[in-house]
């Protein structure tokens, strides 16, 4: 019998281009414009030619008067080049949240809370007209998926703004360092045309062409690096001249995938996650060539154990790696030590590396002896004893190595309000689920089910991540961080139900639901299709008492924990 073979093409990077409607004529036009006209196309690889990047990783967008291009607080993965027309950047202080299509952050009054006794609807996922009403200062265009400022002349009158003209490049810092947009930029006039380059394309443009890289590096060093270094204790004694020298020599590194959730989900499904497959930033046993400062994202700190690697800790923004080794070698040149641990990328990590010579010549001489990290003792290097520094670093010893691996493997360290349940205390009474439902008008926002390690379960609930992947790509900025506690919330008025956040969430904590009117009927659009909205735990941000799930657990089994505070987690485990 003949066997039918299905032959498919091997997936390629540009199978899904940023904008399928980009034409060769568009690319030719772009090639005439700076900075692309100044780039040497010969420097680009054959697999990723300059024209290919522009055709597949960029798109030309036209904005109407008052349309928001980037919004302060959003997480975006692309940068923009003004091609024609003008845009305005709102200088500090920025626009109020209500003008940006954010949800007004307000807690319910006591009467409103008590009134929940009789005002909770009988049907699930009911939305009132008031909940779906957009602020008068902003309008969401459903077709164009854009958000428009309504009274541009008044905004120009009342707020300080700066004009951006053709040739200006913006948004690259937030895109590359995976940080929130620092300012709101909107179009002025109906003829504003911008080139939007997605993160992958931007990365390649920087890799193959010095011109753009120098431009962005310069902006980054000028705007961000000095402030960042000043915040780190070891650099705080540097004078302006010394700081300038450090900034000049500092290197930047970006590892992993910007939108790592897709890869993570695939690997989790295949069950093939392991430290050895993660990209190495610094290797145990190698010469310490610089202090690594984590700027954003996460990195796994591990050491060799048997034939594998044991996770000691995970480092997040603000942590350093390698300082102790470099400080030791600077003081004991005859007895230098290599890196004692390995640093690996988990998901996405943006780092700053201050090279060893700069550390030795400029930075370390300014630091008093008592503020320097302790030297390694021969016993410690031989593994015969454990120093206090090493003990502090070893979070696995505090919460248990199995739990440490579990938290890292499942990327739970990302959570700032992770729902952890002590299964040896939990009576499975579901009071937490009922409390959540009652507080959210009859709609539970989490599942009391999830990954388990020993007696600890991490329930399927929004963790309000330090690195909120769900925010990337939201076309209207409906999903955003709240202004009070940094909780991730969805503005029901501006959510257009596109599911991008839900698909991006690595933890499947966002559900798309069909919403109803107050009489229980499903809301539909003009084509009679149901209106869909994203829903998730909002940490009961509108309630006075805080998360209802935690307050309602009669046995103290459920806790919302910041997974970057492992000391607090260890205390809770051993309570």
């Amino acid at each position: 019998m003949d066997t039918v073979h299905f032959v498919i093409d091997k997936p390629e990077r540009w199978d899904s281009s940023f904008d399928p409607e980009m034409t060769d004529a568009d690319v030719s036009r772009l090639m005439e414009i700076r900075p692309f006209s100044e780039m040497d196309a010969g420097k680009f690889s054959k697999r990723t030619p300059l024209r290919g990047i522009l055709k597949n990783d960029a798109r030309i967008r036209r904005f109407k008067n008052g349309e928001i291009i980037v919004r302060a607080g959003d997480y975006g993965s692309s940068a923009f080049l003004v091609l024609s027309g003008h845009a305005r950047v709102v200088l500090n202080p920025g626009l109020p949240a209500s003008l940006l299509g954010r949800r007004k952050s307000q807690r319910k009054g006591l009467f409103e809370i008590v009134a929940q006794l009789w005002t909770n609807p009988r049907d699930p996922e009911v939305r009132t007209a008031a909940e779906l009403e957009q602020d008068s200062g902003v309008k969401v265009g459903l077709k164009q998926r854009g958000v428009f400022l309504q009274d541009v002349p008044r905004i120009l009158d009342e707020h300080k703004t700066a004009t951006m003209s053709p040739g200006d490049f913006f948004g690259e810092i937030a895109a590359l360092s995976r940080s929130a947009r620092t300012a709101t930029i909107f179009a002025v006039g109906d003829e504003t045309e911008l080139l939007e380059v997605r993160w992958q394309g931007l990365r390649d443009l920087l890799r193959f062409d010095d011109h753009l890289r120098h431009h962005i590096d310069r902006i980054y060093r000028e705007r961000t690096l000095a402030t960042h270094l000043r915040e780190i204790p070891i650099f705080k004694r540097l004078n302006d001249e010394q700081l300038k020298r450090v900034i000049e020599q500092t290197q930047f590194g970006t590892y992993g995938d910007y939108d790592w959730s897709g890869d993570y989900k695939r690997l989790a499904k295949e069950g093939t996650r392991s430290p050895e497959k993660e990209t190495t930033i610094a290797q145990e046993g190698d010469y310490p060539n610089g202090v690594v400062l984590i700027r954003s994202g996460f990195a796994r700190l591990s050491e060799k154990f048997g034939h594998g690697h044991r996770t000691l800790n995970y480092l997040s923004a603000g942590c350093e790696f390698g300082l102790r080794e470099i400080a030791h070698n600077w003081r004991q040149r005859a007895d230098s030590v290599p890196f004692q641990q390995t640093l690996r990328v988990i998901g996405y990590t943006h780092v700053i590396v201050v090279p060893t010579p700069v550390m030795e010549e400029v930075v370390l001489p300014t630091v008093p002896e008592h503020e320097l990290p302790l030297r390694f003792t021969s016993e410690e290097l031989a593994g015969a004893e454990q120093s206090d520094t090493r003990r502090k670093l070893d979070a696995g010893a505090k919460i248990g190595p199995e739990l440490m691996e579990f938290m890292t493997e499942n990327r739970f360290f990302n959570g700032t309000s992770t729902m952890v349940i002590d299964m040896e205390r939990c009576t499975r009474c579901d009071d937490c689920v009922r409390a959540c439902a009652t507080t959210n008008e009859g709609n539970p926002r989490f599942l009391r089910h999830g990954h388990t390690s020993g007696r600890i379960m991490v329930a399927n609930s929004c963790m309000h991540c330090a690195d909120p992947v769900c925010l990337i790509g939201c076309p209207t900025g409906a999903i955003h961080r709240g202004q009070s506690g940094g909780e991730v919330v969805v503005n029901q008025a501006t959510c257009i139900g596109c599911s991008i956040c839900s698909n991006n969430c690595p933890y499947d904590a966002i559900r798309m639901v069909e919403i109803r009117e107050e009489d229980g009927a499903f809301m539909v659009d003009k084509d009679m299709k149901p209106i869909v909205k994203a829903t998730k735990c909002d940490l009961c941000s509108d309630q006075i008492g805080g998360p209802a799930c935690e307050r309602s657990c009669p046995h103290g089994a459920l806790k919302r924990m910041d997974m970057n505070n492992l000391d607090a987690f260890a205390r809770w485990l051993n309570r």
């Binding site: 809370i113 008590v114 929940q116 006794l117 299964m423 040896e424 205390r425 939990c426 009576t427 499975r428 009474c429 009071d431 009922r434 409390a435 009652t438 507080t439 009391r448 089910h449 388990t452 020993g454 007696r455 009961c540 309630q543 006075i544 008492g545 209802a548 935690e550 307050r551 309602s552 657990c553 009669p554 046995h555 103290g556 089994a557 051993n574 309570r575």
Partner: protein
Amino acid sequence: MKGFLRRRLLWGSLLVAATIAVASVYAAWEGATTRSAYLSGWLLFGLMVVLTGYNWLKKIPYLPLGRSEVWLEFHLYAGVFTGVLFLLHVRLRWPTGWFELVLTLLYAIVMFSGVLGIIISRGWPKRLTARGGEVPFDRIPLVSRQLREQAEALALSSVAEAKSATIAEFYTRRLHDFFAGPRHFLSHLFEIRLPLNALLHDLGDLNRFLNEQERKVADQLVALVRQKDGLDYQRALQLTLRLWLFVHIPVTYSLMLWAVAHIVLVYGFSAGAR
């Protein structure tokens, strides 16, 4: 000192202090007034109303009334304290008449179910977690049905494949009933492995009549039996974690109604509370 221990000591100290205080006041009043039973009675009733309110508190989690954990601790220790008040109120005497007997029995059931409940609530979760393989309670019937279908399919397939009905007969005789529904409830509660061991022993004995192919089927059946036993274990423990409240709460309301009737009768048939 660890958190749980510190809190237990705090609540325990409060309980002891309250017991000493109320016993001293009661002893002093006993000689001075004949109305001391009214004091203990009203105190007991008032506390019982507050304790009953805990169930209502759970239904309004959005009200900022503190953590349920603290209220449960109060519920537990105040519940024990009602025992002290109850004994003072009845002056350590056996109830006289059927009305008082019913009242005492209702109180005893509420107290006993509460104590049993807290023992179950503290002990069962550890057992469930230690055993592993947890299935949410509402999914247990579904998983049980899937296991039964797998076991039946295995037993049937062995007839056609091995041309022998040995396993199918054994299934009909020993396993059909086991897979038909939840089994060995009490054995699971008291960690008695006898029923499972007997079943596995019989399955082991069957091996001598099986060929190589049938032995593989028997091994798969053993795995399914173990899974079903684990599921029954989960069901038995999770059910009792819920079931005790179905005794504690309704009997509490009966007790409250009976106590109200008791107060009415006391005031109706005594010289009156002047």
